[in-house]
């Protein structure tokens, strides 16, 4: 979009600070805007208001103690972060989790993908003024928060994975509740679809807004729904299947134009795929233990701790020293709600990591945001920023 500076009413560019704490902003980020009237000439995005030294803290904590920190990265899909982190450590230790654990990780991750997409789209439409729409999304999200609460005891910060397995198995009756939740979600999603997908008020704000080209998206390192909306069918779950994703059937929905509307459609279609995965995984869920049988990583059963000297020593060693992954480096990655979430961990053989780097999926998207915004109107920031799904926790770490 070009700006005609020869018009009579031309005025100087003005600089506007949007954020860091602005009601229409999706997170705490400042955007320094240079405006010509209402048109954005350039936008400088300044994150960092939620920086709390994640990597520094990780280097000061033991391997299993980092799991709660990973919860706080993307707080709308913490279990995916848990799984991605633990996969990196397990890669380092060369542990293969039990089949039941792999399936449970898939089921719980997909539930978190649903909550992630529901929150993202729900918040985006709310920022566009459709507050009632947000309530539909939250109603569906609540079903999964309840389910995950029945498993983990927490609604948001689950900390559910451990090196070599999970904290605990799912409770009895979980399957029945999950099927009921999926049925209800399908009904709610149909209502949401009726509310927005063909709604003129919604389409006017999102169609052809915030377009990014395929080449640019890849060059920026963008992954996830944002990349898929441009037509690139890259999904870690399909391209590099982890856990039990190779044993379930699902499709990768892709968009075409790479605009906000395509991102909305991709997320809506992915939720259906997530529910398909949960149904298949629940039907195939194998029996057996959730933790590997390896005394170096997993606590012994309480019976053994109280009755045998080996069990007690083992318990003490794990409590006092935690696990010791062998010396080396590994990059473990999973498909997060926003794209590829990766953990690059370096161990020197001790009980604390030398380096625990997280590759946050929304970081490259926010890096590209300034470029995407150029030429748009100020009001377009709201739908574009909403479709980015910037999560302060993982962006600023």
């Amino acid at each position: 979009m070009t700006v005609d500076s020869h018009l009579d009413l031309h005025t100087d560019y003005i600089e506007v600070m949007m954020g860091p704490s602005h009601p229409a902003m999706h997170g705490i980020t400042q955007i320094k805007l240079y405006l010509d009237g209402e048109t954005i000439i350039s936008a400088d995005v300044e994150p960092g208001y939620l920086h709390r030294g994640f990597e520094k803290e990780c280097e000061d904590h033991r391997w299993n103690q980092i799991v709660p920190y990973t919860d706080r990265l993307n707080y709308v899909s913490p279990l995916i972060n848990n799984v991605a982190y633990i996969m990196a450590v397990e890669k380092l230790c060369e542990i293969k989790p039990t089949p039941r654990c792999e399936y449970l990780r898939v089921i719980l991750s997909e539930m978190n993908r649903l909550t992630d997409h529901l929150t993202c789209v729900g918040a985006a439409v709310m920022e566009l003024g459709a507050f009632s729409g947000f309530l539909y999304f939250v109603k569906a999200r609540e079903l999964y928060y309840d389910l995950l609460e029945s498993v983990t005891g927490a609604r948001v910060t689950y900390s559910w994975t451990r090196v070599g397995g999970m904290r605990w198995d799912i409770p009895e009756g979980f399957e029945t509740q999950a099927y009921a939740a999926i049925k209800e979600t399908r009904r709610i999603l149909k209502e949401i679809d009726g509310l927005f997908t063909k709604n003129r008020l919604f389409l006017d704000r999102v169609v052809d807004v915030g377009v990014i080209s395929r080449e640019d998206a890849i060059s920026y390192g963008i992954t996830g729904p944002f990349l898929r909306s441009t037509g690139v069918a890259y999904d870690v779950r399909k391209a590099h299947p982890y856990a039990a994703y190779s044993e379930v059937e699902f499709e990768i929905p892709v968009g075409q134009n790479g605009d906000c509307f395509d991102r909305y459609m991709v997320r809506m279609a992915e939720m259906e795929q997530s529910m398909r995965i949960i149904e298949q995984a629940l039907a195939k869920l194998p029996g057996g233990p959730v933790n590997v049988d390896d005394a170096r990583y997993i606590y012994p059963p309480k019976q053994a701790v109280y009755t045998t000297i080996e069990g007690m020593i083992n318990h003490f060693k794990l409590v006092y020293e935690d696990v010791h992954p062998p010396k080396g480096e590994a990059y473990g990655y999973a498909e997060g709600g926003n794209g590829e979430i990766g953990f690059y961990v370096v161990s020197d053989g001790g009980n604390k990591p030398v380096k625990c780097r997280v590759r946050p999926p929304c970081f490259p998207i926010v890096a590209a945001l300034g470029k995407i915004l150029e030429g748009h109107m100020v009001a377009d920031i709201v739908p574009i920023y909403g479709s980015v799904n910037m999560i302060g926790g993982e962006m600023d770490r």
């Binding site: 994150p47 060059s219 890096a367």
Partner: protein, 183 residues
């Protein structure tokens, strides 16, 4: 996985490659930092590693004396074949600098900005190396191993405009009692 790519880099840059392995399934090449841009340009343009996954650094403070202290690590992915590669280069403490990759990948800049503020590694020819996550007045590089985890930062002096506002007596503040109104 992409042993072929590792072999091609080794064949093309015989001098520069210091180490290559595929431990734990992660193909890794460590090159000399003087050939950093050439190797990555080769990986991008000839080998087709177009997705810029990650860039970070690792501080190996206290390892053997003669080994350089830092290691800059880049992860890449080839979108056509799905192969991945990790390329590293060692950077000494005495001259912590390496060439920037901003010309090859648009996404590299922000990762380099973060790496620069956290480790103090200078990315030469970078278009923009301002602080990203930290504030401008932050002293030191927090992810270096010799930065204590409980270190506190000094208070930032007020700006001139703030100085005026806060040093004004209470009854002259805009929200307080204004003596001129009474008269």
């Amino acid at each position: 996985m992409s042993i072929e790519a590792v072999e091609r880099i080794k064949a093309r840059f015989t001098e520069a490659v210091e180490e290559a392995h595929s431990r734990l399934g992660d193909d890794t090449v460590r090159v000399h930092r003087d050939s950093w841009v050439e190797v990555l340009e080769f990986a991008r343009k000839i080998l087709g590693f177009d997705l810029f996954v990650d860039l970070t650094a690792v501080d190996y403070l206290g390892r053997e004396e003669e080994l350089p202290r830092f290691e800059v690590v880049v992860h890449l992915r080839n979108m056509a074949t799905g192969k991945r590669i990790r390329i590293k280069a060692r950077v000494p403490e005495s001259d912590p600098s390496i060439q920037s990759l901003s010309a090859l990948w648009k996404g590299a800049n922000w990762f380099e900005r973060e790496c620069h503020e956290m480790y103090g590694i200078l990315f030469k020819d970078s278009p923009d190396l301002r602080h990203l996550l930290l504030y401008d007045e932050f002293e030191g590089h927090p992810l270096r191993k010799d930065y204590p985890i409980d270190k506190r930062q000094p208070r930032i002096p007020l700006l001139a405009s703030e100085e005026r506002r806060f040093s004004r007596p209470a009854d002259e503040t805009p929200h307080g009692h204004d003596p001129r109104v009474k008269e």
